[in-house]
Amino acid sequence: MLKFLLKRLLQTLPTLLALMILSFLMIRILPGDPVLSLLGERGATPEAYLEMQKALGLDQSFVSQFLNYSSQLFRGDFGTSIFTKAPVVKEFFTQLPATVELSFLALLLAISFGIPLGLFSAYKKNTFWDPLLSGVSLLGYSMPIFWWALILILFFSVQLGWTPVSGRIHFIYEIPQVTGFYLIDSWWSANPFAAFWSSVQHLILPAFVLGTIPLASIARFTRSAMLESLGQDYIRTAHSKGLGVISVLFKHALRNASIPIVTAIGLMTGALLTGAVLTESIFSWPGLGRWLVQALLARDYPVIQGGILLIAILIVAVNIFVDLLYYKINPTLKSIESEAH
């Protein structure tokens, strides 16, 4: 187990190094100048422009900029944002809880509904339910997120008045910044229950929107994995042994189908953590995706470089966790390792 973990950690080092170099180079290859982005239409005299460029360290060659950046990284310094003048690490950890809160709930929704839906669809193969559920999941999978979010806002927030339009909490609740997770921090506010409930309400729509595509994907993955599993000999054996449907489905079929499903969920988690740009923009959700896209549009080099690297570390951590889970679920991995011994 420990050896497996160490091996995985070592394998990630070249990935992170490659990402560090690529993020540094790519942003500089792109046209667009951070100084001009700061100045906007206004412009500046060539002297003032050079002075600003120098202050940002952008007057140096690519190589010396890269060497400075690398030595900074080895000291644990991910740089400072050109626009907000705040350390990149601090900004990352400020945005992270909002993203984790939203992604976690979205994933929870996707798993709780996606797996049963896929399971049911596979079980009811060749009946009216299968094409219906497959159609619904295909619809969810191809839903344009921007449009979907606006429709849900118009219906649930404006027409029915059930959920708030956007934001993380109603402005009347002042909550202290303890963990950054509003579902937790709200308990420290003057009106804990109401503040907690307000933050739950604010989470519902964005989590549902963000969870739509993963829900549909998980349902489809589960269906195909289950179909494959249900066609195996051991299922026939289980049936012939006289085991009940529930036992065959959950104990035998789902357990064996879970490996591709867990892998897919692991990959989705990474995408959810960073790919929520549209959802975050519509619901004014202060997450990592929006932060990174804003930095990209403004050519905020340190945020892009540092942000990509920090997010990569996060995704690598999630993937290692999924691998460990995979290791736990799939006994063949353990036997391969012991055979190697």
């Binding site: 046209p31 667009g32 100048d33 951070p34 001009l36 982005s37 700061l38 100045l39 906007g40 239409e41 206004r42 412009g43 500046a44 005299t45 060539p46 003032a48 002075e51 600003m52 202050a55 940002l56 050109i82 907000t84 003048k85 705040a86 900004e91 945005q95 606006l150 806002i153 118009l154 927030s157 404006v158 008045g161 059930w162 959920t163 708030p164 339009v165 956007s166 934001g167 993380r168 109603h170 402005f171 009347i172 002042e174 003057a190 009106n191 109401a194 307000s198 739950v200 309400q201 923009s281 519509i282 004014s284 959700w285 202060p286 929006r290 932060w291 804003q294 549009l297 403004a298 050519r299």
Partner: protein, 536 residues
């Protein structure tokens, strides 16, 4: 199951109608478009930062009278100008208190040393705070204040003197701009002692109508009314900025009373606001101009006659109808009509495709001979909400007179970078005024210095035009300056380095409960006087 559903429905419904933690409190919620980059206007260069910092938290020596561009006293109660117009002495207002917070408690009121501290931070490289947090001072430098101000000196605790390197008429207007917000020198010393200098720009201490409470990045900014405000204290107890980048979502929040005021509603949403009985649409003529600039360094476009022929092809009225939905006025000068020195006598720009075609033929351009690129604005701005759509309409107009247009665009930083290098033929751009001075339009956008600075995208350097605006800059008498600026506008009309397109109307959506709100024609939000009436 049924019980659980009912409980959930009740919880959702109850939770959707939050009650204020203290029912006597009035909280004003403003839906802003973006996140502030920093809370010190000296280091900011974007609207959201100015709205969140300079307006609620700070004051300047002078300010603009609410809803106008007229200069009025603020932290300076009066001022005198020397006969050579190079020395300005400001007498400071009495009883101005700085905010308390972040462990700092001021022991004195505003003094001249605070003004000296503020300007020397931007001016002097050896100042203890000059390099703190990057110290770019983009706005200060782009207004060339680093070249204009020679020194700032405290003559007495309530008198401060500015020595200029040259007479500069817009100087007073510049001092009313956001970047010239006055900081506390005592707070600066406090932070140095506590080894926390960099907090100066994130933990703001000013003299403004509101005090800073907290900022949840990209989400909410909270302020409290400054009860010791030296002018009339705010009528609301608290102010909240709910950062909402999407205009459609801002409108829905306004409808649901999650905001009392929204900025920049989408033109297509204006009717919805007007029709809603609990909402009101506020509007004012914007101090802006949207234009199409010709790159006058281009081998063909350097010909004045060709620029004139091309200008005749554009059906600007159609753009106003289709893109601004009628909410803009046709421009004929490079400055808006609500700015002093506007030249009424300038004739309207003619629209005549037949005349344009004939002129092009006379110049030797047969249909299809002239091929040009037209860059469409990649960002939505009040002066041009849809550059792409306008570009397509322009392309069709030019096609009618036999000119082939290739539409081109880039993301904003690239657009600016390439335009600065002069890679464009025709380019859509615009400008919203900063300080209500004509030099802020004519000098920035059309002077020879503007070519060097990259803000003159026509790359047009006209000796006689430049003389007019340089002369106007050196005298303080507004009537005399008007003469020069009108002459400059006459030259502009004759030379046609751009086609001025529109001056757009600025809109705000407000809840009918909101009282005493006035739109600032310069674009930033001043919420110091707003109040909320009770009742639904």
């Amino acid at each position: 199951m049924k019980n659980l559903q009912s409980l959930l429905a009740v919880l959702i419904f109850v939770g959707c109608q939050p009650k204020s933690q203290n029912s006597k409190e009035s909280i004003f919620a403003y839906c802003s478009v973006g996140s502030p980059s920093i809370f010190n206007p000296q280091l900011a260069s974007d609207g959201p930062s100015f709205n969140a910092s300079s307006q609620p938290l700070y004051n300047r020596l002078l300010s603009f009278k609410k809803g106008t561009t007229e200069l009025v006293p603020s932290l300076a109660e009066s001022w005198t100008v020397s006969s050579d117009q190079k020395t300005y002495i400001f007498k400071l207002s009495k009883g101005v208190k700085f905010h308390s917070g972040f462990g700092f408690k001021p022991t004195r009121e505003l003094q001249a040393q605070d003004v000296v501290f503020t300007f020397n931070r931007m001016l002097k490289k050896d100042h203890a705070y000059h390099s703190v947090n990057g110290g770019g001072y983009e706005y200060f430098k782009s207004m060339e204040m680093d070249k204009i101000i020679k020194s700032v000196k405290a003559l007495s605790p309530d008198e401060v003197e500015f020595q200029l390197t040259k007479p500069e008429a817009p100087f007073l207007a510049n001092l009313a701009m956001d970047f010239a917000s006055i900081l506390s020198a005592e707070y600066g010393d406090y932070l140095v002692k506590n080894n926390k200098r960099e907090r100066m720009d994130f933990d703001p201490i000013g003299t403004g109508p509101f005090t800073f409470k907290s900022y949840s990045k990209d989400s909410l900014i909270r302020y409290e009314a400054n009860k010791n405000y030296f002018k009339t204290p705010p009528k609301v107890n608290k102010l909240v900025f709910a950062i909402t980048p999407d205009p459609s979502v801002r409108l829905q929040k306004l409808k649901k009373q999650e905001c009392h005021l929204i900025t920049e509603p989408h033109p297509s949403d204006l009717t919805q606001i007007m029709k809603n009985p609990s909402l009101k649409l506020k509007q004012t003529s914007g101090m802006n101009v949207g234009y199409l600039a010709f790159n006058t360094k281009h081998k063909d476009l350097k010909k004045k006659a060709l620029r004139e022929a091309l200008s005749l092809a554009l059906n600007r009225k159609a753009y106003i109808k289709a893109i601004y939905l009628g909410n803009a006025t046709l421009a004929k000068n490079p400055i808006p009509p609500n700015l002093w020195s506007y030249r009424e006598e300038t004739p309207e720009w003619e629209y005549s495709p037949s005349k344009s075609k004939k002129m092009l033929l006379d110049l030797g351009y047969k249909p299809g001979d002239l091929k040009l690129s037209l860059w469409t604005l990649p960002v939505s701005r009040p002066y041009n909400p849809s550059g792409k759509k306008m570009g397509e309409m322009m392309q069709a107009d030019f096609k009618k007179v036999g000119v082939d247009i290739r539409l081109q665009t880039y993301d904003w930083p690239t657009y600016l970078e390439k335009a600065r290098k002069g890679e464009h033929d025709l380019i859509q751009l615009g400008w919203s005024g900063d300080n209500g001075d004509p030099d802020n339009f004519l000098g920035v956008l059309l002077s020879c210095a503007g070519v060097r600075a990259g803000s003159n995208s026509a790359r047009w350097c006209h000796k006689k035009f430049d003389e007019q605006i340089l002369k106007a800059k050196t005298i303080t008498d507004q009537n005399q300056r008007t003469v020069f600026y009108k002459e400059a506008q006459k030259i502009f009309f004759e030379e046609k380095p751009w086609v001025p397109l529109v001056h757009s109307t600025i809109f705000r959506g407000i809840n009918t409960k909101v009282k005493a709100y006035r739109i600032n024609p310069l674009g930033t939000e001043d919420l110091s006087g707003v109040s909320l009436s009770s009742g639904k």
